[in-house]
Structure formats: structure tokens, C-alpha cells
């Protein structure tokens, strides 16, 4: 009977995080002035499925919390509540809080009850405070809503119920003071009751204390309810089953129909408590936010500390799988066809065999492509987080910024998607903080008040290009250079091209920000960004014009599983140099060679002297005759931002190679980033260019 639910947890969490993302992007795209009901519906649906799921899996904390959000959203959806910026912010905060809760649960840790309570309080004040401001229906006043006949009326309902003999119940509901604190809301009970039949209510407010003694969290009101319905006693009691320990409940059958719906009077006297309620509620409503902010910092640190368990599953479009299955079918057919030819082979079948092999080759290539496709995810997986980031930071900085996303559906390998996020966050923060000016400054410069950051992705060649374009103040090259000289990173007399000056920002410890902020400006980062991108086999370029803005372009390989390589021969051995790091390959003459201190060899390439790394020496190759530099080929490569020449014996050819891990069965080897299998079945090592440059320098 007992099913192991934990096997579904992974799916549940994935769906929840997806739902949260949907909510977040929905909330961010809400236009306060002009609400699209469909957008609210989307958010509501996401919240609803999280609530349902967490209830099923027994994560009641999450379910209860989401329930409050859902109530708020429900009111927005029905147009009973105005969508305000404040409400949206509270909801965004709740999304964060939910994400935190779910992460804790996923990592099997304690949920941070304090933070949850704070967010919940903020939500509840929003729920109560806001609704009473827009319509007289805060918690105690909400019976006003339930008073109106429910849309689902029982069959005995009539326009003039008093004429007929009716069944029903007279309910005296007198909650204890702590009813609200237990998380129960009378309104919800009444709504359920009204689903059973026609409900009329009479409110007793004689116990409500004077205004200055009123505790908004206490329930001082009791109700006399009349339910006209054929529901059984147990059905009515069922509704109150959650609160039966927190109230006095009396149920009496209705002998005769009530004369008239008295409670029409109710809304009038209730105005007084409503006003007091909202006022009192408003005060705590202002209080929580600072507390929430204070709490935020440690939780964020905690989140960073327990690095999220990387989920290694992937969601794949069914279409992609179908294509794959078709492809496999084709391969199987071809294989059986070839098998048939091979069974009784005669020379006259050669043509048939060749055709079969050609077909097999085509299918294999297609198959490879569709398998690679499965790992491809749209870049929107990364991009979708940025609207929130920009929203938060621009609010914090008092800047007006719109974020434009272009080419979100560009597909890229899952591994790249996962690793590109942090560098992008860093770059966008930089653009927000340093790039875009304050609104006043922008107007003074004759630019629109609102700055624009464009995040753009597209395919070019075998690469994906991601550009971050801002129309901010751009980078001041003379200032950059001055700073670099001041920090001793550059010689004073150095002559540098514009590009070289801009690349200074990738130097460790370089920052031109006049003052530090908690967003950026500490000068750590850009070098890390560049290193991360290079470790993915990509590179990063900057174009910047003072006063007009900057563009940062990142080029990344589409996949980390396949690499374009140049195979080179060193002695009898074959190595693969990644094509991305090769600048050019040249034959050199004796004249171009120089020695530094009698040992280090350099050669002159146009106007630069570049060090030579002899592959034969660094890899201890003994086979084959030693070559002089002028008999071999110099492959000019870029690694760690420096150019350098690898001396190899021969260039063999360019090919796409499948990257295989050396570490899986063996271990890491200096100067080698992996291995691949060549056409003849032998293994060739792939060079780790930055690593080799480092190895030879040290």
C-alpha cells in the first residue's frame, strides 16, 4: 500500500523550480497600469500546482505558505484586488522565500522558519491590509462576502426561501481568541459552508475591545449562522473539523425557516473594527520589511555555502526523442540490409555494399547529430533569470533600465548553459552599476532617461555568441590607462592599442570605480570571468565608446563534447591542438630565431617576439629524429592571454574530435586536457594550451 514517494521528489522539485521561474517572470512582466488577466492566471496556476504538489508530498510548510500566496493571487485574478507595485514586490519576495524553502527541503535541511514567518507575515499583511483598503472586506469583515448567496446554490434554493419548509442548520460559531493565530480563517469556513447551501450570517461584535486595546491577531468576533441546506450534520461539522478545538460550536437543526435575512445590517456596524484593523495592521506591515532585509544577507550566504546539489537530469523535447528513435530504426534497417548482403557475398554485390555503407554513414552522422541535440538547451534557461536581477539592482541603484533579450531560443550545450551563468551575472551587474548612468546624468547627456541593456545570443560558425550591449557611459580609455599606470600594471611609456587598453580590465586587481559598492567595483571578477570563459574554450571581446556605451561579446563553443582540432605530429606521436586557440601556423627560417640568455628560444612574428615551446622536449618524446626549429612548424597559439609558439614536426590535418576524459579511468596529466580516438582506433591526447603555456613558463 505504501508507495515510496521519495522517488518522485526529484520531479516534484524540478517542477516547483520551474513553476517558481514562471511565477517570477510573470510577476516581472506584469504591467501595473494595464494588467493582463492571462498573466495573472499563469502566475496563479504555477502557485496552485506548487501547492498541490507540496501537499501531496507532505511538505505542509510549503503548501500552507503557497496557499496564502494563492489567496492573494486569486483575489487579483477575480479583480477584487488592485495589483500594486507593493503587492508584486511582496509576491516576488515570497517566490524567493519559497525557493529557499524548497532548496532546504531538497537538501534535507531545516527550513528557515524565521525567514518563512517574516515573509508570511508580509504576505498576510498585504492580503489583509490591501484588501480592506480597496473593499471593506478584511478578515473579520469578510463575512460580507459570504453573505451574498453562493453561486453554487442547492437545489432547494429559491427566491423566497421563507415560504417553503426548509431543512438547514443554525450554527453558533464562537471562535477563541487564538483562532487566527492557528492559521485558520473564518472566511474560508464560510465560503465552504455557502457551497452547501444558502448561508446567512449575523455578526456579534459586542466583545470587540476599544480601539486602543485591540489586538489585530485576536479574533474577538463571533457569528450566528443560518445555513439553508439539506446537508447532514456531519457534513457541516466536517467543515469545522479544523477549528473545533479553537472555538465553541453549536449546531441546531432549523425547525422553521428564518423570517428574513437579518444580517444585512452586518456590514454597517462592522465598519468600526475594519478601520481599526487596517490601521493596526498597517503598522506591523511597515515593520517587517527591514527585518526581512536584515535576514536576507545570511540566508544568501547560506545558500552559497551549501552549493546546490547539481541535478544532472535534463528535460528533453519529445520531438527530439522521436527523431532519435526514428534514426535508430533507420540504422537497424541499414544494418540488417548489410547483414543480408554479407551472408552470400559475391563480387557483383559490391555496388550494393557500397550503397549500404554510404547509407550507414549518413544515418550514423544523423544519429550523432540528434544525440548531440538532446543535450542542447535554449539559452533562455540562463537569460530568464536576468529580468529579475536587473529589476532588483536598478531599484536599488535608482536607475531606470530596461532589459532587452534577443535570441533566447538559441540552443547551446547543457554544460555550457550551466557554466555561463556566473560570468554573465557578473557582466550584467557591471553594466548596471558602471555602464548605465543615473537618470539625471543621462538626460544631461541628451540620452533617453531609461537606459537599455541588450542581451543577445546567436549562432555564428560553430560558436554561440552572447553579447551584452549597454547604452551607458562607455569606458574612458585614457582613464583606464592612467589607472593601469598608477597601479603599476603597465609601463608609463607603453604604447597600447585601443583594444589592448580595453583588455586591461581583465587584469587581476583592476577597477576604475571611484567607490566600491556591494554590486561591483572591487576589481576581482573580470579576470575570473575571462578565465571561466576561456576554460570553456571561448573568448571575450570588448568594444566601448566613451559616452555611447559598451558591448561585451562572448564566443563559446556550442558543445563541450566535440571540438575542432588540428592534429599535429611530434615524433611518432599525434596530438590535437584545439582549433580555437590557434592563431596561425608558420614555417620559420633561421633568421627569425633568437635566444634569450642562451636558452629560451624566441622567434619574431611580425613585430612581436614570441617564446617557443618545443613539444618534443616538454613531452619527452624520444621517437623520431630531433628536428631543428626551422625544419618543423610553429603553431602560434594563444593561451592565458599570451601568444606563444609550439614547435611541432608536422601538421597532419583538421578534424572534429570527440572529447574523452582521461581522468575517468586514469588521472589528470599536466598539459593535456583530454583524449580522443582517431580514425584508426588509436588514442590521441588533446593539448591543454593554457596549461602548457603555464607549464613551460614555470
Amino acid at each position: 500500500m505504501s508507495i515510496d514517494m521519495s522517488q518522485f521528489h526529484q520531479v516534484f522539485f524540478e517542477e516547483c523550480f520551474e513553476g517558481l521561474e514562471a511565477m517570477e517572470s510573470g510577476l516581472l512582466s506584469l504591467d501595473i497600469g494595464d494588467i493582463d488577466p492571462e498573466a495573472i492566471n499563469t502566475i496563479f496556476r504555477a502557485a496552485h500546482s506548487i501547492k498541490g504538489g507540496s501537499g501531496t508530498f507532505g511538505f505542509t510548510v510549503v503548501a500552507e505558505y503557497t496557499h496564502i500566496m494563492e489567496t492573494l493571487l486569486d483575489e487579483m485574478r477575480d479583480g477584487r484586488r488592485q495589483v500594486t507595485k507593493q503587492a508584486v514586490d511582496v509576491l516576488l519576495g515570497s517566490v524567493d522565500c519559497l525557493r529557499e524553502m524548497l532548496t532546504s527541503i531538497q537538501n534535507e535541511e531545516e527550513v528557515n522558519a524565521q525567514s518563512v514567518a517574516q515573509h508570511q507575515a508580509a504576505l498576510e499583511t498585504e492580503l489583509n491590509g490591501e484588501s480592506s483598503a480597496s473593499s471593506p472586506s478584511s478578515a473579520p469583515a469578510q463575512p460580507a462576502i459570504s453573505q451574498s448567496p453562493s453561486p453554487v446554490e442547492s437545489q432547494e434554493e429559491d427566491d423566497e426561501p421563507e415560504i417553503e419548509e426548509e431543512q438547514g442548520w443554525k450554527i453558533s460559531f464562537c471562535p477563541y481568541l487564538n483562532l487566527l493565530k492557528t492559521g485558520n480563517d473564518p472566511v474560508r469556513l464560510f465560503r465552504e459552508l455557502s457551497a452547501l447551501g444558502q448561508l446567512t450570517s449575523n455578526v456579534n461584535i459586542q466583545d470587540v475591545p476599544p480601539f486602543n486595546e485591540l489586538d489585530p491577531e485576536e479574533c474577538n468576533i463571533s457569528w450566528d449562522l443560518v445555513l439553508v441546506s439539506d446537508a447532514s450534520e456531519s457534513a457541516v461539522r466536517e467543515i469545522f473539523s479544523w477549528v473545533e478545538d479553537d472555538c465553541e460550536l453549536e449546531l441546531a437543526p432549523l425547525a422553521k425557516p428564518k423570517k428574513k435575512k437579518k444580517p444585512k445590517a452586518a456590514p454597517a456596524p462592522i465598519v468600526a473594527p475594519v478601520v481599526t484593523e487596517t490601521k493596526d495592521v498597517a503598522a506591523p506591515a511597515l515593520a517587517p520589511p527591514p527585518a526581512v532585509v536584515v535576514k536576507k544577507a545570511p540566508t544568501e550566504a547560506e545558500a552559497a555555502k551549501n552549493a546546490p546539489k547539481a541535478s544532472s537530469s535534463i528535460r528533453v523535447d519529445t520531438d527530439k526523442i522521436d527523431t532519435l528513435i526514428n534514426m535508430v530504426g533507420e540504422v537497424v534497417i541499414t544494418q540488417s540490409m548489410l547483414g543480408l548482403i554479407g551472408e552470400n557475398f559475391t563480387m557483383d554485390k559490391v555496388g550494393q555494399l557500397k550503397r549500404g555503407l554510404a547509407q550507414l554513414e549518413r544515418h550514423t552522422r544523423d544519429l550523432q547529430q540528434s544525440v548531440m541535440n538532446i543535450r542542447m538547451l535554449p539559452i533562455s534557461f540562463v537569460f530568464s533569470r536576468f529580468p529579475r536581477l536587473v529589476h532588483d539592482i536598478s531599484t536599488k541603484l535608482n536607475k531606470k533600465i530596461t532589459l532587452k533579450l534577443v535570441g533566447e531560443n538559441t540552443e547551446v550545450d547543457k554544460a555550457v548553459v550551466e557554466l555561463i551563468n556566473d560570468p554573465l551575472v557578473h557582466l550584467i551587474r557591471n553594466s548596471l552599476d558602471h555602464g548605465i548612468e543615473m537618470p539625471a546624468e543621462r538626460i544631461a547627456a541628451g540620452k533617453p532617461e531609461t537606459g537599455t541593456i541588450e542581451l543577445k545570443a546567436y549562432h555564428r560558425g560553430g560558436h554561440i555568441v552572447i553579447e551584452i550591449i549597454d547604452d551607458g557611459r562607455g569606458m574612458d580609455k585614457s582613464k583606464l590607462l592612467a589607472k593601469a599606470i598608477e597601479k603599476g600594471l603597465v609601463e608609463e611609456s607603453a604604447i597600447m592599442t585601443d583594444k589592448q587598453i580595453l583588455e586591461l580590465i581583465f587584469m587581476p586587481g583592476f577597477s576604475t570605480a571611484e567607490q566600491l559598492s556591494d554590486i561591483s567595483g572591487r576589481g576581482v571578477g573580470m579576470d575570473v570571468v575571462r578565465r571561466n570563459i576561456q576554460s570553456l574554450g571561448g573568448n571575450i571581446d570588448i568594444i566601448s565608446e566613451l559616452g555611447k556605451g559598451s558591448t561585451i561579446a562572448i564566443h563559446l563553443p556550442l558543445t563541450l563534447a566535440i571540438l575542432d582540432g588540428q592534429s599535429v605530429a611530434v615524433g611518432d606521436e599525434t596530438y590535437i591542438v584545439p582549433l580555437v586557440s590557434i592563431i596561425e601556423s608558420i614555417n620559420i627560417t633561421e633568421k627569425m630565431l633568437n635566444k634569450v640568455a642562451g636558452k629560451g628560444e624566441t622567434f619574431k612574428l611580425r613585430n612581436e617576439y614570441l617564446p617557443i615551446i618545443r613539444m618534443r622536449e616538454i613531452f619527452n618524446v624520444k621517437s623520431g629524429a630531433a628536428t631543428k626549429p626551422n625544419e618543423g612548424v610553429i603553431v602560434v597559439v594563444e593561451g592565458q592571454g599570451a601568444l606563444c609558439g609550439f614547435l611541432v614536426d608536422e601538421l597532419l590535418g583538421q578534424q572534429q574530435v570527440v572529447i574523452k576524459s582521461l581522468e575517468a579511468n586514469y588521472r589528470r596529466v599536466e598539459g593535456v586536457s583530454g583524449a580522443t580516438i582517431l580514425g584508426d582506433g588509436s588514442v590521441a591526447l588533446i593539448l591543454d594550451v593554457p596549461g602548457l603555456v603555464r607549464l613551460s613558463v614555470c
Binding site: E573, T574, I618, F619, N620, V621, K660, S661, L662, A664, N665, Y666, R667, R668, V669, E670, G671, V672, A675, I677, G681, S682, V683, A684, L685
Partner: protein, 176 residues
């Protein structure tokens, strides 16, 4: 690690005390092979396959007995010459040279490596209780990956601990 080694040997000793009470299910099969003039054995459950020698791709800057890597049906597998590892016989590589492909590790992290031996001789069944612990030669001879000794037809067979053989690679990674 040595501590664990001792514990294991203690276990074996402990069982040899209750020798005749042991039931028949304690029989373990070992694959025995020859290195120089000595005979070694590995747990047969660790042996994935036995292959003939084929040229390897050398890996630069690793210890001399790590011959390189080969392509074993798409996996990159290191080849270690046990003869050189134990300084036993002159390595000669002919098509008759044998590579025993061993599996090590457990659970999700298993590794495969090939070891070069002179020749494979037999599959031997050994009563667990017949295994003696390797004598301690002090520092003269390292017996760190010898699990125990067993006598088969008056010949001594040294039983190798496959996990430690590969663990050694990891250790060397640090001091390399």
C-alpha cells in the same frame, strides 16, 4: 591505508584459526599469471577481460611503468606494466604479451585499467582459509599490495589487491 591492510590480514588470520569450521562457500577463484619467475593472482571477479598487447599512445611525463592509454571500445584505458612496476623482467612487447583488464573501485566510481603480464596461467580455486598473510620483510620488500600468499601445487602464488594497485596511482598523483 596500511592500517586497513593490517585489519584485513587480521581478518584472514582470525578465520584461519577457525579453519576447519569454515563452510565451502568461502572458496574464492583467482586468475593467476606469471611475472618473470613469480606467480601472482587476482580475484577473478575483478578481471574484465584478457587481451593481447597492442601499441599504446604514450602519455607524457608520467612514471615509466605507466605505458600509456589505449582505446577499449570507446573508453580511454591506461596500461600499466606490472613487470616494470615490480622491477621483475625486461619488458618485451610481442603480440603474445598479455594485458589483463581489471576493474577497480565500487559503486558509481569504478575504473578500468590494463596490466601487462608475461603470461596468464590458470584459474585457481582457493579456500579462503588457505590464504596466509604475506610475511613482513620490513623495508626491504614492499608488500603493500599483496593481500596474502597461497600455495598451489607446491608453488607460491601472491594474491594482489587490485584496489590498492590502482590506489597507488592516485597517491603518486600527489607527489608527482
Amino acid at each position: 591505508m596500511t592500517e586497513k591492510n593490517e585489519n584485513e590480514i587480521d581478518d584472514i588470520n582470525g578465520e584461519s584459526g577457525t579453519k576447519k569450521n569454515a563452510d565451502t562457500s568461502t572458496i574464492i577463484q583467482y586468475l593467476s599469471f606469471v611475472l618473470g619467475k613469480e606467480e601472482y593472482g587476482v580475484d577473478i571477479l575483478r578481471v574484465q577481460e584478457i587481451r593481447s598487447w597492442e601499441p599504446v599512445s604514450r602519455v607524457p611525463n608520467v612514471p615509466f611503468y605507466e605505458k600509456g592509454v589505449v582505446n577499449l571500445r570507446g573508453a580511454i584505458v591506461p596500461i600499466i606494466d606490472l613487470r616494470e612496476r615490480f622491477s621483475l623482467s625486461k619488458p618485451e612487447y610481442t603480440p603474445l604479451t598479455v594485458v589483463v583488464v581489471l576493474q577497480t573501485g565500487s559503486g558509481s566510481h569504478t575504473r578500468i585499467m590494463g596490466v601487462v603480464v608475461d603470461s596468464v596461467s590458470d584459474v585457481i580455486s582457493i579456500e579462503r582459509t588457505d590464504i596466509q598473510s604475506a610475511p613482513d620483510f620490513g623495508t626491504k620488500v614492499s608488500n603493500e599490495f599483496i593481500n596474502g600468499l597461497v600455495s598451489v601445487n607446491e608453488r607460491m602464488v601472491m594474491l594482489l589487491d587490485v584496489d590498492k594497485l590502482l590506489l597507488l596511482e592516485a597517491l603518486e598523483q600527489n607527489d608527482y
